[in-house]
């Protein structure tokens, strides 16, 4: 059985975001699945308490990789407009999104490297047996938390083996393209 995960930690996103995500998936993901939300404030039957309370924000997403079995992850700040069954393959690879379509093209290379920038986006992730990625992070957690603002930069700059999903069915609001299957509102909510 496929498991679909999300994380709602802290106060950045209200419960409405999680409810909307769950309802969108009921409508647009026809593959049978369980929906699970990891949160520091469990209130619904599908909620699970975060496993590592000392972690902050997006780093809880990385902890999800401890789970084995066919798995998808979606951020809270996405909009699902049509069928997303196309994501239900290649679970044997750890996959994140290729962010080059919406990444500014004029970042100087030295600035890109100095800021540990990234060309992947983890608003959507796919995996099945990749617990080693979180294990590596935990081993030297303090250093990675110091060096990287978030997990996209960790994945890209630490040489984590990954596949970058390239598809026009997933777009970012930065691209100003209406109604692709999934629209990411990455960076919109502060």
């Amino acid at each position: 059985m496929l498991t679909v995960y999300c994380v709602n930690w802290g106060t950045k996103y209200s419960r409405d975001f999680t409810t909307t995500l769950k309802e969108s998936l009921q409508k647009h993901l026809t593959v049978p699945h369980d929906f699970v939300c990891y949160t520091d404030n469990p209130t619904e039957e599908y909620d699970r308490p975060v496993r590592y309370p000392y972690l902050r924000g997006v780093w809880h997403k990385l902890a999800l990789l401890e789970h084995t079995g066919d798995s998808l992850f979606f951020d809270q700040d996405i909009e699902i407009n049509s069928n997303v069954d196309f994501l239900c393959n290649d679970f044997d690879k750890f996959s994140v999104l290729d962010s080059t379509p919406w990444k500014p093209k004029n970042i100087p290379l030295l600035e890109f490297r100095m800021t540990q920038n990234t060309l992947v986006n983890s608003s959507v992730m796919r995996w099945s047996n990749h617990a080693h990625i979180f294990k590596k992070f935990q081993k030297h957690r303090d250093m990675y938390l110091r060096l990287y603002e978030g997990i996209d930069r960790y994945i890209y700059n630490e040489g984590i083996e990954h596949t970058a999903i390239k598809t026009d069915k997933i777009t970012s609001w930065y691209q100003k393209i209406d109604k692709s299957a999934i629209v990411l509102y990455n960076g919109k909510y502060k």
Partner: protein, 210 residues
């Protein structure tokens, strides 16, 4: 500003970091920030006034270990400014191989050792003084293990803070009392200090392993 060869050498080393390890450039800048410097010189001022006996204090010189030494600023400042005792060896431990490489470039006189301090058996080192300025980054059980594995009379210098907003800070303390209480069964002859850093308060205890 008065330029001298040391400043020119520093710029050369910083350029080397930008070219060879650009992803570490901002991290290096943070390591050598005013805040980091102030906290470490404060440690030196207090340590130089510590009045009690500790392991090997009567010897001519002592070995010192810095746990989580990063790029070596603490080791360098200790090396140049410790008045409490002459130094025989100063070791800077860190698991971060790139930090070790950069530290060796900056401070060739410091002995950098690539080792995870959570796996370090302090009982097997020759150090009389153990310094850890990043307790807020480390699990408390690991901190206890480092003290427990040290020989009796080893002098510990520990710093922590209450800056909970930083994502790496997984083990902050609320105040100096809490910090002292954590070690009251383990350290003796304790001197405790706090320093207002504006956004947060830094705490320090200096004491001898019971």
């Amino acid at each position: 500003m008065t330029y001298n060869q040391q400043i020119i050498d520093n710029y050369r080393d910083i350029k080397w970091v930008a070219q060879k390890h650009p992803g570490r450039f901002l991290d290096v800048m943070e390591c050598f920030s005013q805040n980091q410097y102030d906290c470490k010189t404060w440690l030196l001022d207090c340590l130089n006034q510590y009045p009690y006996h500790f392991k090997n204090k009567t010897q001519d010189s002592v070995d010192i270990s810095i746990l989580g030494g990063w790029y070596g600023l603490m080791a360098k400042l200790i090396s140049d400014n410790l008045k409490l005792k002459p130094i025989r060896n100063i070791y800077s431990y860190d698991f971060d191989s790139i930090a070790i490489k950069i530290g060796r470039k900056f401070f060739p006189q410091v002995e950098f050792i690539e080792q995870d301090i959570t796996e370090l058996d302090i009982g097997n080192t020759s150090s009389s003084i153990i310094i850890n300025t990043s307790c807020e980054h480390i699990d408390q059980e690991m901190l206890y293990k480092s003290v427990d594995s040290a020989p009796t009379n080893t002098l510990f210098v520990l710093q922590s803070n209450n800056f909970v907003q930083i994502q790496q800070h997984i083990n902050c303390v609320k105040n100096l009392d809490e910090f002292q209480q954590q070690y009251e069964g383990r350290l003796d002859k304790v001197r405790a200090y706090e320093k207002d850093m504006g956004k947060y308060t830094r705490f320090m205890i200096i004491g001898v392993k019971k």
